[in-house]
Point group: C2
Chain length 95, copies 2
DNA sequence: ATATGCAATCGTTAATCGACGATAGAAAAT
DNA sequence: ATTTTCTATCGTCGATTAACGATTGCATAT
């Protein structure tokens, strides 16, 4: 378990929160959380954004460790990174 | 109680998370949470930032509803806005 | 081998953010 | 009344972000 306090934890929480700091990314995360979507095109269909923009939002969520991409089968799939999400919840909970 | 789902909740969470999306602001929030500081100058002393920059971070936290300023007595004090913080925790918890 | 479909990356533009010093304002102390 | 102390605001600058269309890359299907 990583630290929940100190400068490193602050940076960690800031990075996670920053990734969450856009409505489209919150929406994407919720879709993935409820398994309403697994591939990029489904998310593009749902949001009023270009494919490239959605792809960029997914990259940001991946970079922050909130989302993982999987190649289960023929196509790239996305899913919640539960480790990252758990950590975010833990860090927020103790503020 | 406000909604925890839907577009409005997404925007709300994004706004709160964005405010939290900077290490200095996380640090400030933790200081206030632990009552290690109550006035701006104490925070300035603690952080390697100019007074104007700290003041701006405080403004962002206030705008997001995570911090309140109080004039209890002779001088302006800052404290956690527990309503906002509670809402953040609730919104994050259900992702 | 070629075509198709999906996602990532590139290049660009406008907008926003983060930081600072300087300045203003308000209250308390002298 | 003047000085001091503390915080907010202004103006500026460079860096980062958000968005898009266009292009590339990679599988699968034909």
């Amino acid at each position: 378990m990583q630290a929940l306090e100190g400068a490193e934890a602050d940076e960690n929480l800031a990075k996670l929160a920053k990734a969450l700091g856009h409505p489209a990314r919150v929406h994407i995360l919720r879709m993935l959380s409820r398994k309403e979507a697994r591939v990029c095109s489904q998310i593009v269909d749902e949001l009023p954004l270009a494919q490239s923009t959605v792809s960029e939002h997914l990259r940001i969520l991946k970079d922050a460790g909130l989302v993982r991409s999987t190649q289960d089968g023929p196509r790239v799939g996305y899913c919640i990174n539960f480790d990252g999400l758990r950590r975010l919840k833990a860090l927020v909970a103790i503020i």
